[in-house]
Amino acid sequence: MSGSDHGIPEDDLHAYVDGQLPPDRHAEVARQLQEQPEAAEQVAAYTEQREALRAASAFIAAEPVPARLALHNLIAGRHAERRIVWRAAAAVLLAILVGGAGGWALRGGIRTTPSDLTLLAQEAIANHVVYTADRRRPTELGAEQRDDLAKWVSNRLGRPVAPPDMASAGFHYMGGRLAATPQGPAGLFMYQNADGKRLTVFVLPMRDASDTPTRTVDVGKMDGCAWIDKGVGYTVVAPVPSKELHDLAVEVRRQLEAPT
């Protein structure tokens, strides 16, 4: 090494690796590196590090964004939550007005966690929208494989789950599938009525959530009727008026809670 050589400043080595040097300086450093094997070695190692990091994590950025991080869901959730907070506030006010025993009785209703229900309904509606829109292959296992699906979903959810029978309400069972959520696997059962309207029943285990009444959750474009019972969240979604939807949900809940 000739005595006239000056070391390349450490900062410049990094800026060289990161492509953050102005073009002339970049060229200058590249030239100096040819004469400084140790610095060149360092630059090679850092470059390799950088590339390895990028290569190994590139697939994360390419993944579909989980539903709960989708902006439209977050925005819809905020609106829904605000409404629920308002309703809860109204209920508190009512409780204060009624006072005493009445207020105490209402307490249970207010203490439910709206965010759990909102989250659940968002997942259910997202899956409803995606899968019911599929005219050719809306289900993974069709009506004739009802038992297979029940077994599959039960295994994955770690608890017995079977599709309810909605024929009395005019909805015929089409089949279903396993759905993916950030909280883990969920079951999705699909039905269709004579008008071609499709209904889904979404089942998602929610370990820490407390029981709730059956409640309509408005997530923007669609309503879902959701509830949580013994650590499992359920949502019924269908393009019908909310009164009708609520009745359908009550029927689903009745069947699912009935001892088998």
């Binding site: 990094h14 953050q20 094997p37 360092q42 590090q49 950088r50 990028r54 950025a61 902006l71 905020r78």
Partner: protein
């Protein structure tokens, strides 16, 4: 230092005209476009997908709260990383206040799911362990700069430290990572000066 945000892929400065359009939709679109990068950073930082998505979630909620304070031509990406960094730091403080034993063992590694099937999987695991050994402040700098292509000035802004601090953290972190991943064992050419 140049700021990448004002440049297009070819390194040209973008024309300034026409960018003054203050529209919430525009900001939202740019936030949405940044979500995959936020997740990648959070997962690499925390090495746990659920925690990472929680962090991104908190960051986005906060960003939506503060939406009205942003202009479309502002540096949205750096802003989002700044919010996330604040949340991350307060999370760490909470944990220190109430420490929970959290083994960084193999099963924890698995929870991350950062395991590409390629042959460099081994190298990645090395890198990942190496990253885990770094102080959080060095890890953040390496990820923001190497992975997210933030300029040194942007990284300084996100982390709330001077650019000089970014440079020294970057240098120390990279060197430590290099030693950990054993790249030095390739027998560097030593010359007698």
């Amino acid at each position: 230092m140049q700021t990448l945000d004002d440049r297009d892929a070819s390194g040209q400065a973008l024309p300034v005209a026409g960018r003054g359009n203050v529209s919430e939709q525009g900001v939202l679109a740019r936030i949405e476009a940044s979500v995959p990068a936020l997740r990648r950073y959070a997962i690499a930082l925390l090495r746990n997908r659920d925690e990472a998505d929680d962090l991104v979630h908190d960051c986005l909620v906060r960003a939506l709260d503060k939406l009205h304070t942003r202009r479309e031509d502002a540096d949205i990406r750096a802003w989002l990383f700044t919010i996330m960094h604040h949340h991350f730091i307060s999370q760490i403080r909470r944990r220190r206040a109430r420490p929970t034993p959290e083994p960084l063992d193999e099963s924890h590694d698995n929870a991350v799911g950062l395991q590409p099937a390629q042959e460099d999987a081994l190298h990645w695991r090395d890198l990942q362990r190496g990253l885990a050994l770094l102080p959080e402040e060095q890890r953040s700098v390496i990820l923001l700069v190497s992975l997210e292509d933030l300029s040194y000035a942007q990284a300084a802004e996100v982390l709330g430290v001077p650019v000089g601090t970014v440079m020294s953290r970057l240098a120390r972190g990279r060197e430590r990572l290099r030693q950990h991943t054993g790249q030095d064992t390739r027998a560097p050419l030593r010359r007698v000066k």
